[in-house]
């Protein structure tokens, strides 16, 4: 009896040690190295009333034009109907939007990444965008084809952020020691972050193409690890009331949750007025959002905004 229990205990010890070893190794791979917990958060700050009144409309237009956003949408052939909807709706408001697909699709123009792996697609897309457009755009936004994004609100959010600083923004999630921007909410990088990222893409120790020893790590986490080595840290984007502006869910889902969690304050508790992204939309819902955001409104509610954005040319749904 004694020998059995002792071998049982020995077994337990060995099992625990084995497990601990594996976990530690896995962690080191993920980039356990940089222990400095950098955490900066910024609050949305609009210019104050007096400043807005002093700026002429021309000056406001010039200021608005200084934000140049390049949109990256990673797609696969199965996403064709979403792709069509995204093309016909919100991406018209990007200064430039390009679709990066896993393989060539006859129906739509895209940049062929020639890979199915999301992390490889992401890396190649960021490299392509940086190499080709580093001088023309100062902000780079990566989206999923199930997303609806409002570029004007993105630019307003970026109002006092200097793109020559390393910004990495979106809806953040904490995973152990790593805080990363979830790809499901959209990822915003300043030109400085793009520069730093691209300088590391060629270094496999810092930015491996296949991270994670035992199981695959999602592409948004891999990006965060890579950026961390370059001194770029994720920040959660919030409005002045602390509500997320990058959302990983659709309006409908938020409303349904609000109706069960706080039925007396459904709309007030839902989402930011300045929301930049929603995710999980069907193609039809994108067209509805296009109408709902850029057209449908209540007469007699006037806003005095610091920025001015004109509707894009040749578009009939906004």
């Amino acid at each position: 009896m004694l020998s059995e229990s002792s071998s049982f205990l020995k077994g337990m010890m060995l099992g625990s040690i084995f497990c601990a070893l594996i976990t530690m190794l896995g962690h080191i791979r993920i980039g356990h190295g940089d222990r400095r917990h950098q955490h900066k958060h910024h609050h949305l700050q609009a210019p104050n009333k007096e400043d807005i009144l002093k700026i002429s409309e021309d000056e406001r237009m010039e200021l608005s034009k200084s934000f140049r956003v390049y949109c990256i949408i990673l797609v696969k052939p199965k996403d064709v109907s979403l792709w069509a909807a995204v093309r016909e709706t919100w991406t018209k408001h990007c200064d430039k939007a390009e679709f990066f697909s896993s393989e060539n699709v006859k129906v739509f123009e895209s940049v062929n990444m020639e890979t199915d792996d999301m992390w490889l697609m992401m890396r190649k897309a960021y490299k392509y965008a940086f190499d080709k457009y580093r001088d023309q755009y100062n902000w780079f936004f990566l989206a999923r084809p199930t997303m609806f994004a409002i570029m004007e609100n993105l630019k307003y959010f970026l109002l006092k952020k200097d793109p020559s600083q390393p910004f990495y923004l979106g809806h953040t999630i904490k995973s152990g020691d790593l805080e990363y921007v979830s790809v499901e909410g959209g990822i915003v990088l300043s030109i400085e972050s793009m520069k730093r990222l691209n300088s590391l893409l060629g270094i496999p120790e810092k930015c491996p193409e296949q991270g994670g020893m035992i199981w695959k790590i999602s592409e948004d986490k891999q990006l965060a690890v890579c950026l961390k080595y370059a001194g770029v840290f994720a920040e959660n984007a919030e409005d002045s009331e602390g509500k997320d502006v990058f959302n990983t869910k659709s309006v409908g889902l938020f409303i349904k949750e609000a109706m069960s969690n706080h039925p007396n304050l459904v709309v007030e508790g839902c989402c930011s007025d300045m929301a930049v992204t929603f995710n999980g939309l069907t193609p039809n819902q994108m067209h509805v959002m296009m109408y709902g955001v850029y057209r449908l409104r209540a007469f007699g509610h006037i806003f005095h905004d610091a920025l001015v954005f004109l509707p894009p040319n040749g578009s009939d749904n906004d």
Partner: protein, 372 residues
């Protein structure tokens, strides 16, 4: 003796080995559980978004400033501080609308409640009409039965009730269902060009059966004060009777008899404002099949796709509770910051004069609409 002893030893070590394996498996599992708790995926727990403290998610904020030159701003106040609602408020005073919502006892909590929580607050006066009175909701009891065949009875009695109790409290009288979503500001903009003393009514105009057309019941319709007077009077003098149970058609027939004009509710560029379905059904080409009755009913050429619907839409129908709140968020909260809308219709003449006066006497920009 030694053989038995040997077998005993062998079985014992086999048993030992098994317990050892068992132990290591359990040890492994326990340890991995422990690690996953310690290093927890502090996942995507949605922060308590009613919490006003923007620091709520960041308990350990004492990191060094690695982003030189960035200021840590103070939290801004409410997002509606850039909003000027003077014109909407002005119209609220000038174009008084009484809304009555067709509902029933079983739908008060299911549907009417959400109407009450959203657009109904923007009517100058709102009444919920049911077959039986409900003092708590509150709902008016029309003393009819319930059911589709009672709709015209309820309509006649509801208008009678409104006429008898609230005639002088409003200029226009709107009927809506408990699954209709109405944008009151846009209705006021539409009606501001007209005189409530004229006999006229507006809604989504259908062409069959009635020469001047009639208004879809579900999309909601609105009567001028004169139209309401004539309608109620017509039943006293038998000019109109409960001729059928098809509410909107029967009402339309009556309107024609009593010379109340069926108005054109389209906006200044010809887009429809009252909608018999939700936005998706109108905006998506091919959603409503070609064989659907709707295509033959519309008085004006029906349009699908972006041209279906005015920017200043007044109503949508078949709106379920979730969609009510979604529309409320989309219309009154979410907006594209700084965007110059393509469609910029002129202010109605009388309002324009007042706005010019306002410019010379600027009031506080922080004014909020009395009922928003």
């Amino acid at each position: 003796m030694s053989e038995i002893h040997f077998r005993e030893m062998a079985s014992k070590s086999w048993l030992n080995f098994l317990t050892f394996l068992c132990g290591s498996a359990i040890g492994f599992v326990l340890c991995s559980q422990l690690f996953s708790i310690l290093l927890g995926e502090q996942g995507d727990t949605q922060p308590d978004i009613l919490h006003n403290d923007p620091h709520a998610r960041h308990a350990d904020d004492n990191g060094q400033n690695h982003l030189e030159g960035q200021m840590n701003f103070n939290a801004d106040s409410s997002q509606h501080k850039d909003e000027n609602t003077d014109i909407a408020e002005n119209l609220y005073q000038k174009v008084k609308i009484l809304c009555w919502v067709m509902t029933g006892p079983q739908n008060l909590e299911k549907k009417a409640k959400h109407v009450k929580a959203t657009w109904a607050q923007r009517c100058n006066k709102v009444l919920f009409m049911s077959s039986e009175e409900d003092k708590d909701f509150p709902a008016v009891g029309l003393k009819t039965r319930e059911g589709r065949d009672q709709l015209y009875w309820k309509t006649i009695k509801a208008f009678q009730y409104v006429h008898d109790h609230y005639l002088e409290d409003a200029d226009w009288f709107m009927k809506a269902d408990d699954d209709t979503y109405v944008i009151l500001e846009n209705l006021r903009w539409l009606l501001s060009k007209y005189n409530p003393e004229e006999p006229i009514y507006f809604g989504r105009r259908f062409k069959p059966y009635v020469k001047q057309g009639y208004m879809s019941g579900g999309a909601g319709y609105v009567l001028s004060k004169e139209a309401l007077k004539r309608f109620v009077d017509a039943f006293k003098t038998d000019k109109c009777t409960h001729s059928s149970s098809i509410e909107d058609l029967a009402l339309g027939r009556c309107m024609e008899i009593i010379n109340v004009e069926a108005g054109d509710s389209r906006d200044t560029i010809g887009k429809e404002t009252f909608h018999p379905f939700v936005p998706e059904h109108h905006l998506i080409r091919g959603y409503l099949p070609r064989t659907f009755w709707y295509w033959n009913y519309n008085y004006y050429p029906p349009v699908e796709g972006p041209g279906c619907c005015s920017d200043l839409a007044v109503s949508f129908h078949y709106v379920d509770p979730t969609t009510m709140y979604e529309l409320e968020y989309i219309v009154y909260h979410l907006r594209p910051y700084g965007y110059l809308y393509r469609y910029q219709p002129a202010l109605p003449e009388n309002i324009r004069k007042e706005v010019i006066l306002l410019r010379f006497n600027p009031r506080s920009v922080h004014k909020r609409s009395a009922n928003s």
